[in-house]
């Protein structure tokens, strides 16, 4: 293996830091799953890692595998997060709404809760999925 230059060592150190942050959130989520909090943290950390690898990809070994794994993690946790965010927003609107609008909001909230619940398993499985462990 050729010796690493300054830029490659620097790039790998930055990516390693992002990988460490994601691994820590993942470990926390595995110990005690709280969808509302962990899904958000997982997704933002996965996105930060992906962005770092995309920026530095010509200097990072195994870049595509890291991008694919963090993308997959984001995809499998997306529906739960969407449901949470949209329900929160709708609840905020509901506070100011008149009865006719409240009924409309309640119908959509009910559908979103169902969708969020259905997506929970997939999100939890992604956290536990060993294939999505990020390693060098």
């Amino acid at each position: 293996m050729p010796p690493r230059d300054d830029v490659t060592a620097w790039a790998m150190a930055l990516v390693r830091r992002r990988m460490g942050a994601l691994a820590a959130v993942r470990a926390k989520a595995r110990r005690r799953w709280k969808a509302g909090r962990h899904v958000h943290e997982l997704r933002t950390n996965a996105r930060r890692l992906r962005a770092a690898v995309e920026d530095l990809r010509t200097r990072v070994p195994g870049a595509q595998a890291l991008i694919d794994a963090s993308k997959e993690l984001g995809k499998r946790t997306g529906k739960v997060r969407d449901a949470h965010v949209l329900i929160d927003k709708l609840q905020h609107y509901r506070h100011f709404a008149l009865p006719a609008e409240r009924s409309e909001i309640d119908v959509i909230c009910r559908d979103l809760r169902k969708a969020g619940k259905a997506a929970q398993k997939s999100a939890q499985a992604a956290v536990a999925d060993a294939r999505l462990e990020l390693r060098w």
């Binding site: 790039a11 990809r57 949209l86 927003k89």
Partner: protein, 146 residues
């Protein structure tokens, strides 16, 4: 919107690499900025993604470039407003599907307000000594907007 690839094979050191990465990501944001004056969801979504990429890059280099802190903060604010506008676009689809007319009106008003706020944040970032001054100085881009 796919991230533009950044060739770093020929950079002279980390400082040079950071400048190149920030230039590419800042250029992506500048290219998408006209979305702030359009009502369509897709260009606004692309701008949000471009802002996110630039913010993460600025964040990644925060230790080496503390002068970019105000840019990072502004990008985070922009992302919040654009994120809310995006949520409005998603909710609007739900509202249309279920015939929720009252809700649709509220969502549209909210969206309009968020985009206006984002446009305001964007404009002020280019003022003299504005939040993007450090990025403009570092990359040589966006000076025409000041």
């Amino acid at each position: 919107m796919k991230a533009r690839p950044i060739p770093l094979q020929d950079v002279r050191g980390p400082q040079d690499a950071m400048r190149r990465i920030l230039s590419v990501r800042f250029a992506e944001v500048l290219a998408q900025a006209p979305a702030l004056s359009q009502p369509r969801p897709e260009p606004l979504h692309d701008l949000r993604i471009a802002c996110k990429r630039l913010r993460y890059a600025v964040e990644l280099f925060a230790d080496a470039l503390p002068e970019c802190k105000s840019a990072e903060r502004r990008l985070s604010q922009l992302q919040d407003e654009l994120g809310e506008a995006h949520d409005c676009d998603v909710l609007l689809q739900f509202a249309k599907q279920s015939g929720a007319q009252h809700l649709a009106k509220r969502v549209l008003r909210d969206r309009e307000r968020r985009v206006k706020r984002a446009a305001n944040l964007w404009e002020r970032a280019f003022a003299r000594k504005g939040a993007f001054s450090s990025l403009i100085g570092l990359t040589g881009l966006g000076a025409a907007l000041t």
